[in-house]
């Protein structure tokens, strides 16, 4: 074998390798050159028949060729793999624009009333309150008499009470018209100091845009030996500021009348009604928002507490109304209609959990 032939063979193989376009052909070439019966292997086998001198010269040359061919095949192999991958990736392109099904966490909703109860709870928990509850079906005694509504008093009539049919003893139960019976239940079952809020369903036979036969109220009750109206003002002002998430809020406490508190007051908050939108904590108008007062001595007595020893305040407000004021719903009736569009729009996302550390609302 001459140098020239070897060079020709080398040139031929290397140009063949470069020209190969797929990995099977490359393998065939590898077998055809480096395989047992391959052309380069055949050259190697000629070495044995050569003279030592010839071998000395040709040996390294042929081996170099073998190595070069092997290296070039490998390089080509890598190139072909890359090309192949590129082609595969090209072929695997998908339409990336298609929309997902909505995630369950994006379609689930919490009702604004539940959300607002959680908000109120978060605020009052910070002031050391717990939550007290009582049944919706109440006795006349706890809904009225114990709360200092004298029998036959017109104030009872103002409550538009839902009654049940009288039982065999002539006693008729009713649907509580306010959450105040829970005040009596709490005072009877718990030793002062008492700090509770009492959220829940309440009922009055009334129905229009701002009245529904069922609505939600939250009352607060503090009983100890020293709490007075100065504290009441602080608690309510702090609550209103925190609930409406404003830095400052002006309030106006007006003397009023409730059978179960004395002195009694109604509380207005500063608001701005201009532009058809209610903004709390701004402007020059007033909006009545809650009723409150010092627990009436007769109520304390009815609950078994001595009014000369124990004292405290109570307040009550409409949860639905608070929700409407904060979140802008116009019609109370829609709260209880379960229209999926309304729930979607005014409801809250499942993990929007009101806390003081994370904020009441997002």
């Amino acid at each position: 074998m001459s140098d020239i032939n070897l060079e020709q063979l080398s040139d031929q193989i290397l140009s063949d390798i470069k020209a190969i376009k797929d990995k099977n052909a490359l393998e065939q070439l590898r077998v055809g050159t480096l395989g047992k019966k391959g052309s380069v292997s055949a050259l190697l086998s000629t070495l044995g028949k050569m003279s030592p001198d010839e071998r000395k010269i040709m040996g390294p040359k042929i081996n170099a060729l073998k190595q070069q061919v092997a290296k070039e095949i490998e390089t080509r192999q890598t190139e072909l793999k890359a090309i192949e991958l590129e082609l595969r990736l090209k072929s695997e392109k998908i339409d990336i624009s298609l929309p997902l099904q909505p995630a369950p966490t994006s379609t689930g909703r919490i009702h604004p009333v539940s959300q607002v109860i959680d908000e109120i709870s978060a605020i009052f928990s910070d002031m050391g309150f717990s939550i007290a509850e009582g049944p919706d079906i109440e006795t006349d005694e706890l809904n009225f008499t114990a709360l200092n509504f004298p029998p036959d008093h017109p104030a009872r009539e103002m409550h538009d009470t839902f009654f049940f049919e009288p039982d065999e003893n002539g006693e008729r139960k009713l649907l509580r018209t306010h959450t105040s019976p829970v005040q009596i239940r709490t005072m009877k079952s718990q030793e002062p100091p008492i700090r509770v809020i009492m959220p829940g369903r309440t009922y009055r036979c009334d129905s229009d845009q701002t009245h529904t036969p069922m609505f939600h109220q939250v009352e607060g009750l503090v009983i100890d030996k020293s709490t007075h109206i100065g504290h009441l003002r602080w608690v309510l002002e702090e609550f209103l500021k925190s609930f409406f998430e404003v830095d400052n809020i002006k309030t106006r406490f007006r003397p009023s009348f409730f059978p179960f508190t004395e002195p009694s007051m109604e509380v207005d908050v500063q608001c701005d009604r201009s532009g058809g939108e209610m903004k709390i904590g701004q402007g020059t108008d007033w909006l009545e928002i809650l009723g409150c007062g010092m627990v009436h001595p007769n109520v304390l007595r009815n609950a078994g507490l001595d009014p000369d020893v124990y004292q405290g305040f109570a307040f009550g407000m409409g949860i639905d109304r608070l929700a409407m004021l904060k979140y802008g719903m116009a019609d109370l009736r829609a709260f209880f209609d379960a229209d999926v569009r309304w729930m979607e729009h005014y409801g809250f996302r499942p993990l929007d959990m009101p806390t003081l550390f994370g904020g009441l609302s997002s």
Binding site: L100, Q101, P104, T105, T107, G108, R109, I110, H111, S114, D118, S125, F129, S130, I131, P135, D136, I137, P154, A155, E157, F162, F163, F164, E165, L175, P193, R195, R201, C205, P213, M214, T227, H228, I229, G230, H231, R233, W234, R252, R254, P255, F257, E262, P263, E266, M294, P297, P307, F336, D337, A338, D339, V340, M343, G347, R349, P350, L351, M353
Partner: protein, 808 residues
């Protein structure tokens, strides 16, 4: 309660501005609901003369007027429909651009049937002066032309309407309001005593009696009467008419106007009878069933035994303290009147008022308590005004019964004010305030005696006195004080039940369900359908048929909601409610439930058609998954509870189960709604639902430590073995899991069903269930032999428990 500033100032001398007065009223508890500045509203109306009135060429009932508005311009053409418009008359004119308050529009240039109209001659109603709309206002011929009507009429007053709380009958009078204002220091009360009018005409000859059952407190314990003879029931003088008009009352005649005036001025309702129309003895008594009264509002009322009536020998002639009757009413021909001044029981008045629906000024005051000691003043004041306006001679006052004003003395520790309000205030200040309100204070030192005025039945104890002082000082003067913290970091606020409800809501919402809140009452039919409808839970005064019974389940309302939403075009939905249901009317009968429904194609991964998935029907496992997720959040693994194939009352019998911890501790049900129930709600299925009794969940046990048990992590690989069984269709697949697990509790960590198959080559009543068993070696790798032993035990256990045969 309506009054005007000028009227108020007849009882209160003050330099305070109107704004100050209005603001103070609200801040002492007399909430101002409306303020009407009449002079401002009517400032653009002027006095004009009708120069000429001619019939409208194209309309029978209209005239075309030429009006001189006194401004020196051309006569103004006005089309007018008033029948009394005539040439030469003086009246009240509004030019174009004027707002007409009584008609609520702004006057524009008009063309009425071809005739131009550039203004309007006004009626009293259009100026909000009265309801009179029969014709336009006619003024005397010498009325100055071009002058503003408000200046001519001296309308410079501001009307105020305040809300009177039920405890403040004393402020249902201008005098009472003046007294309250005076206690703030805003002005001084003009409290001149009312003089007795000497009786010049002898005895009141009409007999007056109280005829009540002695057993009970009489509904009318005091009835005073006075005969006034030879009067002339003329029109009231201007000042009196004006007072009444200013608060929206229509002057009628002197007698009626005087009683209306005293009602508002003093809070003292009175009644005048035409004495000549009374037959026999005038008396107060309870009504009789079947009696009727033609009342002064021209309506007829049925009387019954709970109502107190004023009667004569002819029967009931008035509803005591509420409204008189027409048969004995005074009119312009009346010459002898009997003035009635009585006291009526507030509760009886309130009851009668509610029953009859009459809202009169007398009822408003009597049901809020009228000062019993005002009887004499009322009758003397009325006599004085009647004699002044109508002439005549007064007879002696005749009285039946008595109502002694209760004398209340309260021992008042001065420290009480600071104790309850935090307000520091001197005795001198307290004394000024209370004295101005009519209280008497005596004594000195820490505790004083306070006598309560007769017009304040609401003042009974110390706290009531505190309120009086606080009102007058102003709540805004009370220093704000932080509520002291009870202990360092606040303790947990919610009970486990409250927390469960809160978490249940959040858990269900994360599953794509929307929270509904529905009414606690539903229709009787729905209640019965869901196991309720007991009489004890039925409202006696429901406002609608579909709100009559307390709900035994949350599902009926959710199904109704689904139906409404579907009818609005939203066919797919998943909604839930966490709320109360009622098993009976006791406190324990009210339970906290969570219920949910899925309808349409609302699966957890979305509803409706989507390129990633086929629309599949909902099945029971969709809702079981929701229930399981909720229970999981609440600490209850549903697979550790018993799931019994006992359908709920509302469910498809073959597609529902009960979840329980034991036969007496039922946590809830899930299933497909029964087709017959769906039909009642006009719905198409399948709709799947669950209801869970949150109160039945085990209460979390108090643990000594929050530390969790140590975790044991095996280094050995778990291995999986699959088995397929053929068994009867009726056999529950869950039994296979249970049996397989029990085959070797130590080694088998998990059993999953990965295939359920029916049909094909299987017999009709057979199914195939394939399970995957995960075997977790504990301390050494298992040999093939050991694995074989476990596998054989599994097969044997399953075959024994279910009758299944291993599929070859």
């Amino acid at each position: 309660m309506k009054f005007t500033i000028n009227w108020l100032k007849t009882h209160l001398s003050t330099d305070a501005s109107n704004a100050e007065i209005i603001d103070t009223l609200t801040m002492i508890g007399l909430e101002v609901e409306e303020v009407i500045d009449q002079a401002k509203i009517l400032e653009n109306f002027t006095i004009a003369k009708v120069i000429e009135a001619k019939k409208h060429p194209n309309a029978d009932k209209l005239q075309v007027l030429l009006v001189d508005d006194g401004k020196g311009g051309e006569p103004i053409k006005v089309v007018c429909g008033a029948p009394n418009a005539k040439t030469g008359m003086m009246g009240v004119f509004a030019s174009t651009g004027t707002y007409i308050p009584g008609a609520d529009f702004t006057l524009k240039k008009g063309n009425i049937r071809g005739e131009e109209s550039n203004g309007m001659m006004c009626s009293e109603k259009e100026l909000l002066l009265s309801d009179d709309h029969d014709g336009i206002i006619e003024l005397p011929a010498d009325t100055p032309l071009g002058v503003k009507y408000v200046d001519y009429m001296k309308i410079d007053d501001v009307m105020i309407d305040v809300a009177i709380t039920p405890n403040r009958g004393d402020c249902a009078s201008v005098f009472g309001i003046a007294r309250d204002l005076s206690a703030t220091g805003l002005g001084n009360l003009k409290d001149e005593p009312i003089k007795a009018i000497p009786a010049s005409a002898g005895e009141t000859t009409t007999s007056i009696e109280l005829r009540f059952d002695d057993e009970k407190e009489p509904a009318c314990p005091l009835f005073a009467g006075r005969l006034i003879k030879n009067i002339q029931n003329v029109s009231s003088p201007n000042w009196l008419q004006q007072r009444l008009r200013d608060i929206g009352l229509r002057p009628i005649n002197a007698l009626v106007d005087i009683t209306n005036f005293i009602t508002y001025d003093r809070g003292r309702p009175l009644h005048v009878f035409d004495a000549d129309k009374i037959s026999g003895t005038l008396h107060a008594r309870m009504g009789k069933q079947g009696e009727k009264l033609e009342a002064l509002d021209n309506k007829s009322y049925e009387i019954d035994e709970i109502m107190c009536v004023i009667a004569d020998d002819s029967g009931a002639i008035g509803l005591g303290g509420i409204m008189g009757g027409t048969s004995t009413s005074s009119d312009e021909n009346t010459t002898n009147v009997l003035l009635e001044c009585a006291w009526f029981d507030p509760i009886n008045i309130a009851k009668t008022g509610r029953k009859t629906g009459i809202n009169s000024d007398a009822r408003y005051r009597f049901e809020r308590y009228v000062d019993p000691s005002s009887t004499r003043d009322g009758i003397e004041l009325a006599t004085k005004l009647i004699l002044e306006i109508c002439g005549g001679e007064a007879c002696e006052i005749k009285i039946a019964g008595e109502k002694l004003p209760s004398e209340k003395i309260i021992s008042f520790p001065l420290a009480e004010i600071e104790r309850l309000t935090g307000l520091k205030i001197s005795y001198a200040e307290i004394k000024v305030i209370l004295t101005r309100l009519g209280f008497w204070l005596s004594g000195s030192g820490e505790i004083v005696k306070i006598a309560v005025p007769t017009w304040r039945p609401d003042i009974e104890q110390k706290a009531d006195i505190v309120e009086e002082v606080m009102r007058m000082v102003g709540v805004d003067k009370i220093p704000v004080e932080p509520l002291p913290s009870l202990d360092g970091v606040a303790k947990k606020m919610l009970t486990s039940s409250q927390n469960n409800r809160r978490l249940a809501r959040r858990a269900l919402a994360t599953r794509g369900l929307k929270e509904a809140i529905t009414y606690s009452f539903i229709s009787q039919e729905s209640a019965k359908l869901f196991g309720g409808g007991d009489k004890s839970l039925r409202l006696a005064n429901a406002i609608a048929n579909d709100m009559s019974d307390m709900r035994p389940s949350l599902l009926p309302s959710l199904l109704r909601a689904a139906s409404r939403n579907i009818n609005r075009g939203f066919a797919d939905g998943a909604i839930f409610e966490v709320g109360q249901i009622f098993l009976d009317d006791s406190e324990m009968g009210q339970k906290n439930y969570a219920s949910a429904i899925r309808y349409g194609s609302a699966k957890i991964n979305g509803a409706g058609r989507h390129w990633q998935s086929k629309v599949e029907k909902l099945d029971v496992y969709d809702i079981k998954a929701d229930l399981a997720a909720m229970f999981d959040v609440l600490g209850q693994d549903i697979e550790k509870a018993q799931i019994i194939a006992e359908p709920a009352i509302w469910a498809h019998p073959g597609r529902s189960a009960r979840v329980q911890l034991g036969p007496k501790n039922i946590l809830g049900h899930f299933g497909e709604i029964h087709p017959s129930i769906l039909a009642k709600f006009d719905l198409e299925g399948p709709i799947v639902a669950f209801e869970a009794n949150l109160d039945a969940l085990p209460k979390p046990r108090k643990k000594a430590t929050k530390s969790k048990p140590p975790i044991v992590l095996s280094d050995l690989m778990a291995l999986k073995r699959d088995f397929a069984f053929v068994l009867d269709k009726d056999i529950e697949g869950a039994n296979i899991i249970k049996a397989a697990k029990n085959a070797n509790k130590a080694m088998i960590s998990q059993v999953n069903i990965f295939d359920v198959f029916e049909g094909g080559s299987l017999d009709k009543d057979k199914k195939s269930i394939a399970i995957e068993v995960i075997i977790q070696p504990k301390d050494k790798t298992l040999t093939d032999e050991e694995i074989e032993i476990i596998s054989a035990a599994i097969i044997k256990a399953v075959e024994k428990a279910t009758g299944a045969i291993l599929r070859s």
